[in-house]
Structure formats: structure tokens, C-alpha cells
Symmetry: C2
Subunit: 371 residues, 2 copies
């Protein structure tokens, strides 16, 4: 007989999921109601307003996709691209590569702009690619690369896209609520995020937002979106502003309670204050990391405060240290991905987990374990 599962109580300082605020876990467990219940419809309207506020946008087409961040990425590409389209994709880590996969599975061509892992997307290379590909439909890049801890200049990249009459598609999975992000001011056309990073919510939902320019392209497609489940023309029948909601799929009711609560918490703190908190706790961690004789992979200017790539000496046994942190401190930090596997740790300070208490725990645990 298999019995109920009781998870250990961890402190989550990896690349996500991050520590979930207990208020959100409590909201998650509230009684399930129908996805067409008037009370639920009211809550959906609030989620939309709160998401618009977190993204700093007035985009009508702003909603949570009923699946994890990866499905948010697919929603952007599958809705905007048709067979034969061309997309410029910037890659400076794992997730640019995933964008390429998505573009190609839509039957479109991906023109890649490659930058070294650990560095931001190079604006000059992007401008060259835009000049060389006047037929490109969109420019896609990752704002906060979870695999490398690098922030790219989203504002400047979106300006470039607009200059060359391209849509901009921004991966904000790790950036939303952790660093400055302004969808309308920066002219972002399509953006997706996840719930399990700086929103400190449980994983499983992908907030997305599309400009009117992008929404028009989706409405006027020549061919149907290849995914029925992610087709925004259908999803909008349920999430759209109309009072009569058309059934598309059964919404993940309780996960949306949790997202609602996480967005209420962001609203209470003020998102600019959340950005400042992430920056402050990063500085505190950085001072301690350097005092331990460890170093950062990313130059200070491009570092993500919410995801810290820390290089350790060759003499350190990566897996053994992470196992010890988990066993002795119930502390999870992340391993390196791709080119960085076995060479770095990824230490997250995301959302609720971005606290002085967590900085202290992590530094003390690392110090004792590395001794």
C-alpha cells in the first residue's frame, strides 16, 4: 500500500520553484468552486487586473495560461508564428535554445544570434541580424536567463525590434516581480512568465500578455494555431472581457486562487519595492559569497539579483555539497545547466525567498559545508 506523501520542509534557494509564501499555500487549499461560478468569474477579472499591474501594461490580452512557464513560451510562438515565418532568436543560455525548438516546431525558421553563456545579448549583433533579415516577423530573447543568471537589456532590444518593424517576444519567467520590467513603456509585444519564481507561487501557471499589435496578428492568422489547447483565439472566449464566458477547458481553479493571492501580495508590497528588496538581498549575499572566497560568473552590471551564479573551485565536490546542504540544512540550491554543469551553483533569492534570513542561512550553511 502506498500512503499519503508528506514532503520535507525545505528552504528553496535554487532556480525555482522558490519558497512559497504560506499565505499562498493556504489560498491554494480553499474550497474548489466551478470554473463558471459567478464568484470565480469575479476572481478571474481580478487576476487579470493584478497581472496587468504586475506587468505594467494595459494590454487587454493579459491572462494566465493553465500550464507551466514552458507552455507560456509555446503560447507566444504558436500563436504568433505561421509556417514559413522567420524569427530572430537570441541565445545566451538554455532558454534561447528552447525558443529555437519552439520556433521550428511551428514550421518557422529561426535565425540565431549567439552570445557566450554568462554574457547578455549583444545589441550590435541583434541589429545586424535585423538588418540582414528584413522579412523577420519577430525578435525573441530572454530577459533574465535562468541558466546563467544574466539580465539582458529588454528595453533596448524592444526598441531595436520596433525600429526594424519586428514584434518583440520576451521571456520573463525569472524576471517578473524580481527586476524592473515595464511592458508598455518598453513596447513589449508578447511576454510570458511563470508563477514559481519571483511571484513565490506554486509552479504550474504561465502569465502572458500581448500588445494590441500582437493580438491583431493572432486574430488575423491565415491558418489556425496548431495547438488547440493554447489557441488564444479560443482561450479568449473564456478569459475575455465578455460577461458570457465560453467554456474552453476547465480552469485550474485552485492554482488560480494561489496566483491571485501571490499577486495581492505583490500589490501590497508595491512591485518597485519588490525590485528594491531583490537588489538589496543580492548585495548582502554577494558580500558573503565573496567573503567565502567564491566568485560570481556574471559581471556586476548584468547580474540578476534573484539568481546568482557562483563559481566554486575545482577541488569542491559539487554533488556532495548540494547533498549535504539538503540533508543537513534542508536547503536546496541549484546546479549548473548545460555549459555550466558541474562548475557553478545557482543560488536563487526569488520572491518570498529573497530575505535576509535566507541569505544568512545560505551563507552559514555553505561556510560550514565547505570548511
Amino acid at each position: 500500500m502506498i500512503t499519503s506523501f508528506h514532503p520535507p520542509v525545505r528552504t528553496l534557494m535554487g532556480p525555482g520553484p522558490s519558497d512559497v509564501n504560506p499565505r499562498i499555500l493556504e489560498a491554494l487549499s480553499r474550497p474548489t468552486i466551478g470554473h463558471l461560478d459567478p464568484a470565480f468569474i469575479d476572481m478571474m477579472d481580478q487576476v487579470k487586473v493584478l497581472l496587468q499591474s504586475a506587468f505594467k501594461t494595459e494590454n487587454e490580452l493579459t491572462l494566465p495560461v493553465s500550464a507551466p512557464g514552458s507552455a507560456g513560451m509555446e503560447t507566444a510562438f504558436a500563436n504568433l508564428l505561421e509556417r514559413g515565418d522567420k524569427a530572430i532568436v537570441c541565445q545566451n543560455g538554455v532558454f534561447g535554445g528552447r525558443m529555437k525548438e519552439n520556433v521550428e516546431r511551428c514550421g518557422a525558421e529561426a535565425v540565431m544570434v549567439q552570445d557566450e553563456w554568462g554574457t547578455p545579448v549583444d545589441l550590435n549583433k541583434v541589429e545586424e541580424a535585423l538588418k540582414a533579415n528584413p522579412d523577420a516577423k519577430l525578435l525573441a530573447f530572454v530577459h533574465a536567463e535562468t541558466s546563467t543568471g544574466v539580465r539582458s537589456d529588454a528595453k533596448a532590444l524592444c526598441e531595436l525590434a520596433r525600429k526594424y518593424d519586428c514584434l518583440s517576444v520576451v521571456d520573463a519567467v525569472t524576471s517578473l516581480a524580481g527586476i524592473e520590467l515595464r511592458v508598455d513603456d518598453w513596447g513589449i509585444d508578447a511576454i510570458y512568465s511563470g508563477t514559481q519564481k519571483c511571484l513565490s507561487c506554486v509552479p504550474g501557471i504561465a502569465p502572458v500578455s500581448f500588445s494590441e499589435r500582437a493580438a491583431k496578428i493572432i486574430r488575423e492568422r491565415k491558418t489556425p494555431v496548431q495547438s488547440w489547447f493554447l489557441d488564444l483565439n479560443l482561450v479568449m472566449g473564456y478569459w475575455g472581457g465578455s460577461t458570457k464566458r465560453a467554456y474552453h477547458h476547465t480552469a485550474p481553479v485552485n492554482s488560480l486562487y494561489a496566483l491571485h493571492e501571490s499577486l495581492v501580495i505583490v500589490q501590497e508590497e508595491g512591485i518597485e519595492n519588490a525590485w528594491a528588496r531583490h537588489a538589496r538581498n543580492h548585495r548582502s549575499l554577494a558580500a558573503g559569497i565573496e567573503a567565502l572566497g567564491l566568485s560570481f560568473v556574471v559581471e556586476e552590471e548584468y547580474r540578476l539579483p534573484q539568481l546568482n551564479l557562483v563559481r566554486f573551485p575545482d577541488t569542491v565536490d559539487d554533488a556532495a555539497v548540494r547533498a549535504a546542504l539538503l540533508q543537513d540544512y534542508d536547503l536546496e540550491i541549484g546546479s549548473g545547466l548545460g555549459a555550466f554543469a558541474g562548475k557553478v551553483w545557482r543560488i536563487g533569492l526569488m520572491g518570498f525567498a529573497s530575505s535576509q534570513k535566507n541569505v544568512n542561512l545560505c551563507l552559514a550553511a555553505l561556510s560550514n559545508t565547505l570548511r
Copy 2:
């Protein structure tokens, strides 16, 4: 300022979500851990074993898709079909139509076998279609049509599929854990379900299972699955039996706690006992419905015990009755879909909601409201 959302406490007797067992809501709110945490990996292994047991299969490729039942449907078609393939799709309600949409969005051709809403899939018509289309790759049908309350003969349909060398694809969203379902004994090649029906779990996850024959077809595709997120060749790197789990997407950790708990509850009761309970409570409801002078749409032989289509007289104001049930009794029943809109109610007795207590409440509330 938007404040925390506190849902009303409803009794959910519509077409789903159904009432969630409080044990499952409590499991849902347990502390989030990492999706690569050894404790989580152990739990995933248990979910797989429990799902195999609920589906009555030994299929290795059995796992929960990280999105609602509709995405489970898309997982089946997007993985099995390639451009130019042909599929025979049975339609006797809303969800057969959705299957057609999915088939066509995969670039495949859907040969439709139409039956009247409220009746089961006709075996003779299916055999004719199989004979007329020897190049068909698969036969797809809905075991328990949520829009009409009809059970089709899944065992006989799968036998026909096999006789004509077709894969069988079965929609078990509403059937799993509510009526007899035997994946291996019946030779089902691909099956998908949802968590929010007879598993009494929160909505948002889609259990799926594929026979070795189907899995081989997926492994040996000529072209990549058009959905990156739903590509089982990638998903299996995370859910597969290997001790080294490859990151694909971030699993919806807490929703999987809930699914685990719901499957533990099914195991405790014994799935055959759950089927019997659904049948028993249906008979009790049916007696009361007929005593109220209302009638069933579906002939007794084909009725789903977990979803009852009840016809009401023209003199009854559909929306007013449902609004009164919701307001006066916090009781949700479902409205008719498609051809049945405004003509029937859909009364669910699914999973935890399939109880004598709920039967009593529903009959008393209907009786008083219709008086």
C-alpha cells in the same frame, strides 16, 4: 486595492470540477519542494504506480501531463499523428468534435463517424468506417461523453480497432474511477483523463497512458511532435524510469501532491468499490428524479452513473433554477451543452461527490425550487 479571495463553499454536482475531498485540499497545501528533490522523485514514482493501478495497466508510458484534460487530449493526438495521417473519430457529443479539431490541427485528416447526441457510438458504423479506410492510423472515441451523459462500449470499440490494425485512442476524462475501465484487458493504446472528475482532485492535471505499440510509434516518428511542451519523447526524460531525471519543464509540484493523495484514496477504497458506489448513488438519484416527474435523456443501459442528463419541462426557467440552487443551497449543477443547451441539466455524482448525502441535498433542493 484588491484583497484576498475567499470562495463560497459550494456543493459541486455539475460536470466537473466535482467536490474535492478535504484530504486532497490539505495535501495540495503541503510545503512546496523542488521538482528534482529526491523526495519528490520518490513521490513521482508512486504517482506512476498508482496511476497504472487506476488505469488497470502495466504500460510503462503512464504519467500525469502538467495541464488540464484538454491538454491530455492534445498530448494523445499530437504525439501519435503526423501530417497526412488519417484518423477515424467518433462523435456523439461535444468532445468528439474537439477530437476532430485536434486531429486537423496536427495536419491529419479526420474521418467522422456521427451518432445522435444522447446515444452511444454505433459499432456497425465504426466497422464500416474502418473497412472503408484501411489507411486509418487510429480510431478515437469518448468513453464517457460529459456533454450527453452517455457511455460507449470501449471494450468492443478497441476490439474493432485492433481487428482493423488501428490504434485506439480513448477519452476517459469522465470515466476514470467512475465506471469500469480496463486499459490492458481492453487493449487500449492511448488514453487520457482529468483530475477534476471522478478522482475528486483539483482541476489542472491530465493522467495519460500509452501501450507499448503506441509508445513505439511515438519514439519512431519521422517528424518532431509539433508541441514542445507536450512531446512525450522529451517528457519521458523527466518522468521515465531512469534514476537521472532530465529537466524538461517545472512540474506542478503541489498539484501532483493532490493527485497523489486522490490516487491513494482510490487505492484505499478499491477502484471496483468506487465503480459500485457510483452505480449505487446513481440509482438513488434516478429514483428521486423520476419521483419528481423529471426524465432522463439517456436510455438506462448507456447512462453514466457519474453524470446524469435530466430533461426538464419547457415551463421551467433553466437559468433561474440553477441560480436559485446556487444562491439558496450553494449547490452547483450543470447546464446543457451544444444541442442540449437550455433543455437539460447535467447532474454530476463524481468521486467524493457521489454520496447519498449529495443525492439527498440535490433532490430536496430541486424539489423545493421547482415547486
